[in-house]
């Protein structure tokens, strides 16, 4: 179907407009990081670099950033391992409850965060009698990160079929060797896509984290939440957010290059 030029132009314009609207609040955030007024009066009367100076020295932000990165990294690794295992198990063995299981698997993402949050909080504190801390945050995050990895891997495995692996086994390769040399390379881009999404989800997660973090731990979203309304800290929050947006281009671009030109990797398509 060839679209008329008018149609194509209309679509292009719509997309551009939409992107403008999407980026306006972000631009506002960047602008406000230079706003001299502490409560962001609009329009900004005075611009200053003061907040950027403060931000560079802000230890709270740095600690929070580091904790978020750590949590996201560990949760992603756990998710990668468990998600892949689950996907492989599910696609290798057929059983009649399969649809129900896939329903259950997406439950952590499909149910509202607050439900997951209070359920886990309740379980951690009363059933397991754990102290809320780094571990509980990781467990909570991993629970919904598994889903993204699982989905991507499952989709890829469905496309791959089992032939190559069977062939490899027939040729005498053991299970692990097959995985290492045949399965894994084919899964790589799906794993990457899943990992990237999992990392992003964990990094920006606030609701479940509110309920599963101890008093000493502040991930970046928690730090932002606690500081957004403090007059002397709120502008620093804007600086941090501005930096995050700009810096995030790097991993996204990087992942795109690695996953090939059809963007299938990133969006988990096909």
């Amino acid at each position: 179907m060839t679209l008329s030029r008018g149609m194509r132009l209309a679509l292009a314009v719509f997309t551009v407009l939409a992107l403008v609207v999407v980026y306006t609040p972000l631009a506002l955030v960047v602008l406000n990081s230079f706003n001299a007024d502490r409560t962001f009066a609009w329009p900004p009367s005075e611009l200053t670099l003061h907040w950027w100076e403060v931000a560079i020295g802000a230890r709270g932000a740095r600690d929070a950033l580091w904790l978020s990165v750590e949590v996201a990294a560990v949760a992603t690794v756990v998710a990668l391992v468990l998600g892949t295992l689950a996907a492989m198990a599910l696609s290798r063995f057929r059983f009649f409850g399969q649809n129900t299981v896939s329903l259950l698997i997406i439950l952590p993402i499909a149910l509202p965060g607050i439900v997951t949050g209070i359920a886990l909080n309740n379980a951690f504190r009363t059933i397991f009698a754990w102290e809320l801390g780094f571990l509980t945050i990781v467990v909570a995050h991993a629970t919904f990160c598994i889903v993204t990895v699982f989905n991507n891997v499952q989709a890829r495995m469905r496309r791959m079929g089992g032939n190559l692996e069977e062939a490899s086994m027939d040729l005498g390769a053991g299970g692990f060797t097959t995985f290492r040399l045949v399965t894994f390379p084919m899964l790589r881009s799906a794993l990457l896509a899943g990992a990237l999404l999992a990392f992003g989800l964990s990094f920006d997660e606030i609701v479940v984290t509110t309920f599963t973090a101890g008093t000493q731990q502040q991930t970046l979203p928690l730090w932002i939440f606690n500081n957004l309304f403090r007059p002397n800290q709120a502008p620093v929050v804007n600086v941090v957010a501005a930096v995050l947006v700009v810096v995030s281009i790097v991993p996204i671009y990087f992942a795109q290059r690695l996953s090939g030109s059809h963007n299938e990797g990133l969006t988990g398509a096909r």
Binding site: A12, V22, F40, L107, I118, T143
Partner: protein, 263 residues
């Protein structure tokens, strides 16, 4: 698998068990006496029905708005744009996901405030900012979840072979008909997949509505207030059953469309 089963499902089960218990309102301790009082209150007091309907309405509206907005963008990205532009667009759509949810909501608080960006841009045209309230909540939530709708739809449309579209044109169908008969049905599962996110995220949201929603409260707020401020976990658990039941029904209904494959 066991992890999901025990840790997650077990935690959920435990939570809903507490909804059947009572609470001492003075000390805030949970009393393990079996009672249906929580559910009774939930179903008899009109305010909870109002809040539930309001939340469902907002979630549905946000989903529809996002679907309508996302589709043209995703279509452009998948079928019309050149490969280079497509790559750029994917990055452009993904980047806002990394900006903190809170910062974005807070930015909208500024934009929607009296004398904020909307007022500033709109005064020559006589347009006024809707201020804080339901409209603001819908706008902000639609904004926040838009990438979650664009991505699955984009993936779904990409999967659509160009040959099908060409064949449809060859058979004489005008663009509108191709859209209705070929594209939409094939993209529908992807749309539904995206809607799972937007619907569920809106159903449980309590932060954005606190920031831009003015005096309004949604289901998420009732749950949060009862867990935090009122320390009434049993009642919060009872309220929490509502979004869970809604989502379970939604997921069951959606399973048939094959949307679950598209997540």
């Amino acid at each position: 698998m066991l992890w999901l089963g025990v840790a997650y499902l077990g935690a959920l089960a435990a939570l809903f068990l507490t909804s059947l218990w009572g609470q001492n309102s003075f000390t805030g301790e949970i009393e393990r006496t079996w009672t249906l009082d929580n559910f009774r209150t939930l179903f008899t007091l009109e305010v909870y029905r109002t809040i539930t309907l309001r939340t469902l309405g907002i979630a549905a509206l946000v989903t529809v708005i996002d679907a309508v907005l996302a589709f043209p963008i995703a279509f452009y990205m998948a079928k019309v744009a050149s490969v280079r532009v497509q790559q750029l667009l994917v990055i452009a759509v993904l980047m806002p996901l990394w900006a903190s949810y809170l910062v974005k909501a807070y930015a909208w608080r500024g934009i929607l405030s009296d004398g904020g960006l909307i007022d500033w841009l709109g005064t020559p045209f006589g347009i006024q900012s809707p201020g804080y309230g339901i409209t603001a909540t819908i706008i902000t939530l639609s904004y926040l979840w838009l990438p979650y709708m664009i991505l699955p739809v984009f993936a779904g449309l990409e999967r659509l072979p160009d040959s099908l579209l060409e064949a449809s044109a060859d058979l004489g169908a005008p663009a509108g008909q191709t859209f209705r008969r070929v594209i939409l049905p094939m993209a529908f599962p992807a749309l539904v997949a995206g809607s799972i996110f937007t619907f569920s995220l809106s159903l449980g949201d309590y932060i954005a509505v606190k920031i831009v929603g003015g005096a309004n409260q949604l289901l998420g707020n009732v749950v949060y207030d009862n867990v935090g401020a009122a320390n009434n976990l049993p009642f919060a658990a009872a309220v929490a059953t509502i979004p869970v039941v809604v989502m379970l029904l939604y997921l069951a209904a959606v399973r048939r469309t094959g949307a679950l494959e598209n997540l």
